[in-house]
Symmetry: C2
Subunit: 460 residues, 2 copies
């Protein structure tokens, strides 16, 4: 059986041929069998004239679902080609959280048109959600959930869901509220599997539920989904009133976004909202130059350390040849530790209290790594530089200095690499900042200091 | 309102006090109000004597849910303390996919006991799932799903779900099969919201559904969840017969696991299945030393390049002082590009076909970054080294050589950094290997070659 991606690629080729031959009826037939995300993928590659035309071929609900999955640039292009009636129709089909995402991406004049055409309660909900801080639970929630009352019976609850569920983002978890206070949760599974239709909702609802506050950080919320296997989580305001829900699909998006952000920061870039292909070189430049600049300037210190040792280096230039190897091994050892710890911190596996345990573990690992590397390095120097290349400057003493430096650098690098992220988190900074580029810069300077101190002691 | 984590921490302290005072009845009352993941968190910190005793306080279903969330070491400890009857009871409450995870983590003698106590059809399902390759869709699926028949009416379908749903991992998507072939999907939402109970399931089922094969890579499956917002996806075998489903909570776990693996590889480590706190220094050593060794040995080349240029360096030792800055800036620039591209590849944003577009974008960015860095670096050298430190060796020519090298290194680093991951993926390797440590080693050698070539041309 061919896999789904191959099938999508084949359909894409067929559609392009049909489009060239203007077979719109067949295109419509094919599109209506497809998944919105796949249609959006194809639409995002169309040119400006074709897009609005093809979009109009889609049935109303499929159109709205596809619209949500498209690139913001193309969403804007479509909105600008819509009549007010068309825009109103698409907006009517959107869930509030998707409408909020749209409003956040569009320029001001398009936003004004969207808000003018949105139904009054959607407009009110959009405005409410927009007021929550960026990256908070409130800003990613949706207000369309199924509510029940404690005094309802299971039969009444199921009837209520069948009457009102069609516009809700999920009907699988229902929220039992009284005076807007959240009293309990009941899943549709519990309702359906209840033995008796006359059972009261209050008898089967889960009252020990977990909820988040509108101001809870979205990453923390997303981590709760993977910890507790939720499909949705209720969001309450500071007075405990239920204001919305966050569904697992949004949690997945948040996790993906936050992970990308972590990875970008770890590689010395300020995080970007735009996908790579949508970023132009100026965007990329703006996100990359600050760290490059900062790290370049801090490399002044390594320069100064070398300058301070200039006279010894000019007597034994062979010492210079080992600098890159020592610096790189130190940098690599340090970033292994820092990246491991940063990931464990972001998965909630370790806390500040674990710092001593982490440091001990890293020092033990560093001794093992450092000793192994030093021994292999000694063998390599004696074999390659002495025996093969007959470099008279490379003596046993030089090899020993290099190898002891190597071992010490690895130990220092791993200790610093594991502690800085934990300390950064404790001080309220993002631990991801303490990854390779930052650690490398510090370890470079330290490895040179170690190298030159040992050299001075042993060789001069 | 206090947030959930604070509440859990308070409960933990209370439980510890109750445990010291042996107030088991109160402990039981508190535990039964808690979420399995939180109970598991507390249990994982108990000592060996307390764990089995407290576990026995839990009601059967909560016990099983808690058991699933615990560390493998403690699961093993519990199983060893269980009687056969207790083990059978816990296994009976597990979903097949959780039972498979358990079997995969346990040593052989424990596995034999588990399989002996499992119900016959669970044992058959476990053995079947274990036969699928590691990291395949088949290996993470569960066999407990709700099936319907095309000729059923909506009313009959709902009745069938109410009768059989209790043992299924999800009842929210139902799978319509005939002769084990998957004919369509129908969500419980569609069933409940259907206008008429006599509507045939075949009339409302979705026949254009997406399924995966038992051999599809688990990461690909997980990405489909975030692309299509599924709650579950059906798994079919090579003859198109339905064999199981994968649910969104497992997809979340897979995504988290695969991301951790990517991050580990990007930092030059071979990926590990164990969490950080469960890894001992020997584990960490084993996962870290291969790359450190390889990279240390490849640094021989940078050493050789420097040795080849020894005579010039001994005449102008000041040139050595700029080596760390040039190497680090090159390494940082290269890893920015490689990491960005690796992440875009793993999110499916770019493909091999995008290579020329990516290279052009990176070169444009590199020219902007390189020029800016070169200008700032020139200013810094003239200001700090010439004016402040009065270093007579640092002439305008030296500054020019350093800055031109800097700009060229950034361009080379970014071009290599963006292309290698795409090429690696094309050749069937994991692109994550082409991250910082690897790129740094290549860029180090190239930056030295550029530096010394320009130096030779301009200064000697």
């Amino acid at each position: 059986m061919a896999d789904h991606n191959t099938i999508t690629a084949t359909v894409e080729t067929t559609l392009k041929t049909l489009l060239e031959n203007r077979k719109y009826a067949s295109i419509k037939d094919i599109l209506t069998t497809m998944n919105p995300a796949d249609i959006a993928g194809i639409f995002d590659e169309l040119d400006e004239q074709q897009l609005p035309m093809l979009f109009r071929l889609l049935p109303k609900d499929l159109g709205a679902d596809t619209f949500v999955e498209m690139d913001p640039d193309n969403q804007q292009l479509l909105i600008q080609s819509f009549s007010d009636t068309e825009l109103k129709a698409v907006l009517n089909e959107l869930y509030v959280d998707d409408a909020v995402d749209l409003v956040e991406e569009m320029p001001a004049n398009v936003v004004r048109r969207i808000l003018a055409q949105a139904a009054p309660d959607m407009r009110r909900d959009i405005n409410q959600i927009l007021r929550y801080p960026e990256d908070s639970a409130g800003s990613v929630m949706t207000t369309e959930y199924v509510w029940l009352r404690t005094r309802m019976t299971v039969g009444e609850a199921i009837k209520h869901i069948r009457e009102t569920g069609v516009d809700k983002e999920t009907i699988y978890t229902c929220y039992v509220t009284e005076n807007r206070k959240l009293m309990g949760l009941v899943s549709i599974k519990d309702l359906l599997l209840a033995k008796d239709d006359n059972t009261k909702v209050s008898d089967i609802m889960e009252t020990n539920f977990i909820s988040v506050n509108t101001h809870t950080d979205q990453e923390e919320v997303a981590q709760m989904f993977s910890k507790y296997n939720f499909l949705a989580i209720p969001v309450v305001d500071s007075e405990g009133r239920m204001v919305g829900i966050i569904t697992v699909d949004d949690a997945l998006d948040v996790l993906e976004e936050e992970t990308t952000e972590d990875i970008e920061i770890m590689a010395g870039m300020t995080p970007s909202d735009k996908t790579y292909l949508r970023s132009n070189p100026l965007d990329l430049f703006a996100h990359r130059i600050p760290w490059l600049m900062l790290l370049m300037i801090s490399a002044t210190f390594t320069g100064l350390i070398i300058t301070g040792f200039e006279s010894a280096l000019s007597q034994m230039v062979v010492l210079t040849a080992f600098i890159p190897m020592l610096m790189d091994t130190g940098g690599n050892s340090g970033s292994q530790s820092s990246v491991t710890v940063i990931r464990a911190l972001s998965l909630g596996e370790i806390e500040f209290e674990d710092l001593p345990k982490v440091i001990l573990k890293e020092i033990a690992t560093a001794i093992l790594c450092g000793a192994t590397l030093a021994i292999v390095c000694f063998g390599k120097i004696m074999l390659v530089d002495c025996l093969l290349l007959h470099n008279p400057e490379v003596t046993v003493n030089v090899a020993l200095v290099v190898c002891v430096t190597m071992a010490m650098t690895v130990i220092v690098a791993k200790t610093i690499g594991c502690s800085l992220p934990i300390l950064a988190k404790r001080l309220g900074f993002d631990p991801a900042v303490m990854a390779s580029p930052f650690i490398t810069t510090i370890v470079d300077a330290l490895s040179l200091l170690i190298y030159f101190s040992i050299t001075k002691a042993v060789l001069f």
